[in-house]
Every structure is written in structure tokens, then in C-alpha cells.
Amino acid sequence: MSAPILTVQDLTMRFGGLTAVDRVSFTAEAGAITALIGPNGAGKTTVFNCITGFYRPSAGALLLRPAEGASIALQTLKDHAIARAGVARTFQNIRLFAGMTVLENLLVAQHLALTEATFWGIGAMFGSRRYKEAERAAIDRAVSWLEATNLIARADDPAGALPYGAQRRLEIARAMCTGPRLLCLDEPAAGLNPRESEELAALLLAIRDGRAATPDPTSILLIEHDMGIVMGISDQVVVLDHGKRIAAGAPAAVRADPHVIAAYLGEDETEEVAP
């Protein structure tokens, strides 16, 4: 394994008196799939929201290793700046631009590249050639991701009209169109049928290895409840419970960890009765 792409150090997030995430540390290796698992309310999504800038952490550090140069401290950046630094995310409850077509969704994701190509859109206003080229490149990129996610036939349909599984894939394609270095997926398999889950697992492996639509391998951080997927594709698993990290390591090792079994199946009640 190479150096970590994301280092989480003593991440703490408090909401008033409630400590949702308590001094959690872990690393996500570059070019690997890291899964974040844990029972409901363990703080997984809170960790995600801290990494992607939707929450400002109460304490701790989040370091993203860029392609070159010094690491970026994500906890000091605003959410859109984090996305620009190369962290893309999807949402637990799908957030697509429902009234825009599938293709438009993917073009919005390439907003930055398109805006830069046109000097703040002023060149685009007057139909500059540079903008036309940039837009064609953006459409090509969108099409290659639509092919990779098997959505090309629906490119001109409104995103809101797609079936649920297709919306999940579109959200991943949209996140990938931003050209991220780290892709954060919040329960991508929720609500999928077994066949769709298998396709999703294959897609995630292809994204990790750079076989999907872009040749660049992309590291993935994944929250998932479907243990079949987690154990099948993850290179590394981090387990949270009640806001604390209780285990981390290879899938097989984590599965055998007594703390993890206790967290998922309930601890032996008799030990806790004594005052």
C-alpha cells in the first residue's frame, strides 16, 4: 500500500452536549476502497459531513494528500473549496437535480472546468471557440461516464424520472465528473436489489482501478450497511460505534474482532448490571 490519501486525526464533532464523533483517527489508503461501518447512529455520516465540509469539526485534523505539494487541511476549508480540492461525495438520500436531464446533471458537475475555460462565462456569452471546445470535452466526459454507468440511453431524460437504482448510479457518475481524488459514498447500495448491488460493486472496483471511464485510479471512502458489499470489495474497514473507533483493518480481521461482534449483536447484558 502507498501513502494515505486522507488522514483523519482525533476528529471530534460535538452538537451542544452530544458528542457525535469522539477522537476518531483513521487513514484511507490511496488507490484503495476504505469502508466506514457501524450500527445506526454510530457517527458515520457525521464523519462524512466533516470530511466534505458540511460540518466544521469541533476538534481534530483532516489531511488530504494532493497530487503534489503539502497536504491540505480540509477542516479549514468551506464545502465548495473541499470539492475543488478533489473530494466528491454522494448522499444517503439521493440529491440529484431532478428537473434537469441526466446529461445536464453531469455538466453541472463540471462547472469549474467550464467556467475557467471561458473567463467567468463572458467568453461563452459571445460564443468563443475556447468555450465550445470546453463544452464538447465536458459532454464527451459525461458520455463516457454515462456509458460506464450504463445510463447512456437515458441521457436526455429528466433525472427525476429515472428508476431508483439508476439515480444511485447517476449520482456516482456526477460525483466522478468533478474529477475527484477521493470519492465519498454514503450508503450507495441502500435500496438496491441484489443484482444492482453486484453491478455497483463491480463499478466501484472499476473506479478504484481506473477502468471505468477515466484512466486515473480514484480512492474511495464508503459508508455501507450491506456487509456483502463491504466485505467483498473493501481493502480496509473502519468500525465506529457510539462515535468512537472500535476497530480498523482488513475485512477478515475486522469480521473476527470481538468488539465489532459485540457492537453489532449487542453486548452481554449481565456484565453491565452491576453498579
Binding site: 466528491a88 437535480f97 445536464e104 453541472v108 467567468w120 456569452m125 441521457a155 436526455d156 456526477r174
Partner: protein, 429 residues
């Protein structure tokens, strides 16, 4: 067979309930009236037949509406949508051609041209507000403030520095855009209803400042003697000298020349607004506005700076409001805070909502229907508002998302197909 009967019973029950509510209201508001008797004493007059008539109207209206809404839906809706779309594509150019030829159509006099100028002003304002409300999904109830800023900018700049209309027009737009950004900053964090309240307050603040800052704005007396526009340096006047419009072109001096010029001026300004919005919609910034309307959180996750995106929408919308304001000032020659009350904002917003959020053609038709229709019903006198209100209610019942509720995609691999209003979000600020 039992299904329609059940629907009928429900509709009757519904209509009876509405009638009961109407009765409760009208029995006091219409049925009882205090009048002065010949002796000078007050006495109570009753008008039960009027109450009965009104309740009957409510019953019939509500019954028709329920039955209409419960009618079996035609399954061939998409095909109908296709023909509508084709008709719509032809309608835009047809309206444009009619607008271009209007001054030279026989039977069109000064009154019709003035009405045309008024309608075009509202079309332009509607298109300007459409950027903010329709595309970016930010509910702005104080749009008239930018109209006022534009009008006063032109009036004050022209009077204090003697600047001409063509210099003041961009300045008025820039100043209005500046105020748009100024309003944008504090309200960036607000959404939906809260945003609406603050923009409403902003509109009122501007009006009250104009009303009370007597030294600068003349207060309630307004500003008079605003320079009228010239035809690129050639003034319109009746003398017919070589330095005037009529003299230069060798025409008989006629006051209608200026009206025709003003008509084409506002038509050009409105078309500029339309051109910019249509172009921008296909640019990254326009797509970002629409994405913002659809889902702000997803925008943030994609690296779109929500702050600047919202501010550009406010600034551009305000700029076109400012242009329209400068035009208004030069057309009227006199402005006062009375022209910039909340009802103006409400009318512009109603045009955008009735036309269909984000639809250029819908807004134009709605402005034509609302402003033109309002003039058409002038003979009805005090019933005008009632007819007008009823018409608006009918449009909203029949087309809840405005005259043109569908959205045309900005880009497509194949054929561009309109997106039904059931998918398009209305924006929550």
C-alpha cells in the same frame, strides 16, 4: 357507473361546504350595511338577495372546479404536449414579428403604442425577475426597488451632471446591480419564506428612503423635468428645425415619432434581456443557477460557490430592473416614490408565476395578458379587479405551474424534449 355518482356526491358536499364558508363571510360583509336615514339617524339595511346570489355563485363555481379536477385524464397527454410545444415554438417568433410591426400596423394610434410600451416594460421586468425567481429559485418580493434605483439614478444623474440617456442607461444598470449585490449579501443565508420577507422589507426601505430624503430625491414631490430621450443626439420636438429628428429626416413634425422611438427602445431593451437570459441559461453560470434551484446542497458538494452564484443572479436581475427603471424615468419625465410601491413588485412576481417559472415565452404572454387585459377591462370600472382576480385564480387552477410549466433542457445528445413540471423544483431560496 357508481364511480361518477360517488364523485358527484363528493363534489356536491365540497361545494356545500365552500358555500357555508362563503355564507359566513358574506352574511356580515354584504348582507348587513349601515346607512344614514333621511332623518340623519343610522339604520341597518339588509341585502339578502345579494348574499344569496354570491352564495349561489360560490356553489356553482366550486362544483364546476371539483368536477373539472376529478375528470378522467386523457391518456394521450404526451402527444398533446408535443403539439403544444410545436405551437409554442411558432408562437415566439410570431409574437416578435407582431411586436416589430406594431407601430406601422394600420389602426394603431398613440394609445395602443403607449399600452405596448407599458406591456413591454413589464415583459422586461418579468424577464429580469425571471433570472432571480425562475432560474435561481430565489423568491424576491422587492424587485421594484431595483426599478426605483434605476429610475432615480437616471433622473439624478441627468439633472445634476447633465448626462444624456445613453450614458446614464449603463450607469443606472450598474448602480442597480450594485444594490442587488448589497441586498444579496445579508440574505445569502436565508431561504424560502425568510428570504421573501427580507427582500420585501428591502423594497419598502428603498421606497421610504426615497420618500424621506427630500434634499436628494424631492421626497413625495418626486423629480420632474427629466430629460426626454433623443434619437442619438437628435431631439424630438415640434419646431421641425434641421437639428431635430423630424427636420433631419425631412419628416412632418409629429409627437408620435417620440412614442415610436420609445416603443422600439423598450423593445430593444426587452430583447436584450431575453437574449442575455437565454444565452446565460446555456452557460455554466445559468446551469449553476438552475442547479441551485433544484438542490443547493448538491451544488455545494460539486464545488459550486453558492455565494457568488446567488449574487450574480441578484446582480443580473437587478441590472435589468435598473435598465427598465431608467427607461421608465425618461418616458415619464417625472418620477415619484408612488410609482415604486409593493404592488408593482407583486404584479411583476405575478407575471413570472403565471407565466411559468423560468419560461421566457410564458412570462411574455403573462405580461401581455395581465397588463393588456387590465386595460381591456377598463370599461368594467370597479368590477375590473374582480374579473382580474378571477382570471388569475382560473389560470392557477387550470395550469398550477404557470402557462408554460415545462422546462426545455439546455443541452441534449438527441432531440430536446420538454421536462414536465412534476420533476422541476420551484426553489426554496
Amino acid at each position: 357507473m357508481s364511480q361518477p355518482r360517488k364523485g358527484m356526491a363528493a363534489a356536491l358536499r365540497d361545494a356545500a361546504l365552500a358555500t357555508a364558508v362563503a355564507f359566513g363571510l358574506f352574511v356580515i360583509m354584504v348582507g348587513l350595511r349601515t346607512d344614514v336615514a333621511p332623518s340623519g339617524a343610522l339604520f341597518l339595511r339588509t341585502r339578502w338577495p345579494d348574499v344569496a346570489l354570491l352564495c349561489g355563485l360560490v356553489f356553482a363555481g366550486r362544483l364546476v372546479m371539483s368536477l373539472w379536477q376529478a375528470r378522467p385524464r386523457a391518456p394521450a397527454a404526451p402527444k398533446l404536449g408535443g403539439t403544444m410545444q410545436r405551437a409554442g415554438r411558432a408562437l415566439g417568433p410570431a409574437l416578435l414579428a407582431a411586436a416589430l410591426l406594431l407601430p406601422f400596423t394600420p389602426g394603431i394610434g398613440r394609445y395602443e403604442l403607449d399600452l405596448g410600451i407599458l406591456v413591454l416594460t413589464y415583459i422586461m421586468l418579468g424577464w429580469g425577475l425571471n433570472i432571480v425567481v425562475g432560474l435561481a429559485g430565489l423568491l424576491d418580493l422587492g424587485y421594484v426597488a431595483f426599478y426605483a434605483v434605476g429610475a432615480y439614478s437616471y433622473a439624478l444623474l441627468a439633472q445634476a451632471f447633465g448626462l444624456g440617456f445613453w450614458v446614464c442607461l449603463p450607469l443606472a444598470g450598474i448602480l442597480a446591480a450594485f444594490w442587488g449585490i448589497l441586498l444579496g449579501f445579508p440574505v445569502l443565508r436565508l431561504r424560502g419564506d425568510y428570504l421573501a420577507i427580507v427582500t420585501l422589507a428591502f423594497g419598502e426601505i428603498i421606497r421610504i428612503v426615497l420618500l424621506n430624503w427630500t434634499d436628494l430625491t424631492g421626497g413625495p414631490n418626486g423629480i420632474g423635468g427629466i430629460p426626454r430621450p433623443s434619437f442619438f443626439g437628435l431631439p424630438f420636438n415640434m419646431s421641425g428645425e434641421p437639428g431635430t429628428f423630424a427636420g433631419f429626416f425631412g419628416l412632418e413634425p409629429d409627437p408620435v415619432h417620440r412614442v415610436i422611438f420609445l416603443y422600439y427602445l423598450i423593445l430593444a431593451l426587452a430583447l436584450l434581456t431575453n437574449w442575455v437570459s437565454v444565452r446565460l441559461r446555456r452557460q455554466p453560470i445559468g446551469r449553476a443557477w438552475e442547479a441551485l434551484r433544484e438542490d443547493e446542497i448538491a451544488c455545494r458538494a460539486l464545488g459550486i460557490n453558492v455565494t457568488t452564484t446567488k449574487l450574480t443572479a441578484f446582480a443580473l436581475g437587478a441590472m435589468f430592473g435598473g435598465f427598465a427603471g431608467a427607461f421608465f424615468a425618461t418616458r415619464q419625465g417625472f418620477i415619484s416614490p408612488e410609482s415604486f410601491t409593493f404592488i408593482e413588485s407583486a404584479i411583476i412576481l405575478a407575471i413570472v408565476v403565471l407565466g411559468g417559472l423560468g419560461s421566457q415565452l410564458g412570462v411574455a404572454i403573462a405580461a401581455l395578458v395581465m397588463i393588456g387585459g387590465f386595460e381591456l377591462f377598463r370599461d368594467l370600472e370597479e368590477w375590473r379587479m374582480l374579473v382580474f382576480g378571477t382570471a388569475m385564480v382560473v389560470i392557477m387552477v387550470v395550469k398550477p405551474r404557470g402557462l408554460v410549466g415545462s422546462r426545455t433542457p439546455t443541452v441534449a445528445l438527441g432531440e430536446r424534449r420538454a421536462i414536465g413540471s412534476e420533476h422541476v423544483q420551484e426553489g426554496r431560496g
